[in-house]
Assembly symmetry: C2
């Protein structure tokens, strides 16, 4: 199978092998040693001195944790959706009682730092701003460095910056400390080459300060509990041990390769995917200055139907791509994060060329 | 390793083999076929016509879902803890804003149906009662049939009955429909012979009615979303695919064996564990009429220290048991749920006999 959806993503063979193992005591030394490695290696890729906590949930659970651990009911929150997953972040904040104001940018476009700064200056103060590092629905990577700088410069104190890094991190750099991000979330089934079921989250000292007064309810996702147990390399509730087996192997490989090399590899595969799309006569949905190196949204030619193309790719070629998330736009989304080869990307476009020839 | 903690529990070899597989599309036909089987097979063991939803979380996440999907802030809730995990259920309800009244029974004892009925009649009405099927901290199994009957008889309308079935279900029968249970929760890493990271939850029509007015915030654990996606055999967020691979195999085996045979097997292994404990000169903590068939709390002899015994079992014999959860009581807890043999139980007591001889 050529699994090109934006998660779950393929596991490296060593990760699959690592999962073919019996369970262990999650409160014993073997687990604690593995968990200690994982926490340390995640910090390398979060580029932070803050602790990174591992939650047993999908990435969406991590987004809920980001909200519930820092905000209070009625807090004014500026949400900056640039696609479907940015919308989800806003909805979670609303569901938990925040007073959310949406400041959206068109699908396919990134968020504009200057406009956000102006918005904060004119309509603030906001307790927090919700950003997406990499919008999975459109294949757009935000310029987080500029966005964070603009937000920090727009108000004093500046709003907390909460970042959904689920589909970008581990491939596209996110310098949590240097850029002044307050909460950063990611998920195991994206560039981390691991199965779904683990979310990662780190909080800045400012975020921990906000935790003290946050009145949104949390128990399963309470990060103070996670923090307490992390001191002995454990988790409050029973963790997703099998996925951790794989993650341990995947992170080991990633740290050996290095943050910069991992990013460079994703740049190459992203470039390759976009080149092949254009060569095949297909279009690219995203603003070219903000192409994502983990996922490409490829627009189809007139007369081509997304559902039919996806079904043919699946049934005839055993290639699995993502559906369009842009209303009225015929396009498919091709994931190229983590464990993926140039040949697998070529195979997608060879199949698409055949489909188009018919 | 002889893994005798009450979860994670050992996986059957076929389950481990099933996990050594590449990821698949969680919105494709292969996944949907597997997920459909799992949902159907869980219904067999929940003994219900209600749908059983699969959440990507620890069992504790399932407990939070039970609370947040049925209750509102300020609802009067009667919690009936008989140990540590009953306390956790109460704490979650409090955290989410319920007005929780604790009606505890001493550790080692079950809840008394008559006393609960009298309490409801005198101090009710309550919106819900929180019960534990099998208290993992003491090795006590409640008589849920009598408890449910007493609660239903104590008020009209009777309170919702929310049940933590995490460490009992899949081994000890729970007749959700026949007994009139409203919400039932379990977790993959107990008798279900699967890795941690999946919670199971079913809601009665009465619970769904309560959902309509429930104002506690939920997004990741929102069961209306789970219900909607379950109609096409999917989940709202990306599910724990690797654990589902194992669960599919484990449930297939369990359904082939049959609900009654699975329970009878656990009765035999429970009897065997208790017999061996007494033969070794050790004590049993729980009320003998309510012994759990999934976990036994074994009290140590005077002069024996729990931490030392656990460390020796682990370091010298590679046997992993649970620590005492009863303050001031020197005891160890031995799990015997799911994939476990008589020989593995014998090995624990042979080691304990050697430790005692020294």
């Amino acid at each position: 199978m050529n699994l090109r959806i934006p998660g779950p993503t393929p596991l490296p063979p060593e990760g699959i092998e690592a999962m073919a193992r019996q369970m262990i005591n999650h409160r014993g030394p073997t687990f604690e040693s593995m968990f200690k490695d994982i926490a340390a290696w995640l910090k390398v890729f979060f580029e932070t001195e803050n602790e990174v906590y591992v939650l047993t949930s999908s990435g969406t659970g991590g987004m809920e944790a980001a909200i519930a651990n820092t905000l209070s009911r009625g807090d004014r929150v500026l949400s900056v959706p640039i696609g479907v997953f940015g919308e989800r972040f806003a909805t979670i904040a609303e569901t938990f009682g925040a007073d959310v104001e949406r400041f959206p940018f068109p699908m396919g476009q990134p968020a504009d730092p200057d406009k956000i700064a102006a918005k904060i200056a004119s309509d603030g103060p906001y307790k927090a701003v919700l950003l997406t590092q990499n919008e999975t629905s459109t294949g757009v990577t935000n310029d987080l460095e500029s966005l964070c700088a603009a937000i920090h410069g727009a108000a004093d104190p500046s709003p907390l910056i909460l970042i959904d890094g689920i589909s970008g991190m581990g491939a596209i750099r996110l310098k949590m400390d240097k850029w002044g991000c307050d909460v950063v979330v990611s998920g195991s089934q994206k560039a981390w080459m691991s199965p779904p079921g683990l979310a990662f989250i780190a909080m800045s000292p400012r975020a921990w300060q906000a935790y003290e007064t946050s009145d949104m309810p949390k128990f399963y996702f309470d990060l103070a509990l996670a923090k307490r147990y992390a001191q002995r390399n454990q988790t409050p509730a029973t963790p997703n041990v099998a996925a951790l087996y794989c993650l341990h192997e995947a992170l080991k490989q990633m740290v050996e390769e290095g943050v910069e090399a991992v990013e460079a590899r994703h740049q190459l595969i992203g470039d390759h995917c976009r080149k092949r799309a254009l060569e095949t006569g297909l279009g690219l949905y995203a603003n070219p200055s903000y192409f994502s190196n983990t996922i490409t949204a490829v627009t189809l030619k007139e007369g081509m139907n997304t559902a039919e193309v996806l079904a043919t790719l699946r049934d005839k070629y055993n290639i699995h791509c993502g559906a369009s998330k842009a209303p009225g736009v015929e396009m498919i989304r091709i994931g190229h994060m983590g464990y993926v080869s140039f040949e697998e990307i070529d195979a997608v476009f060879e199949a698409l060329a055949e489909i188009m020839a018919e």
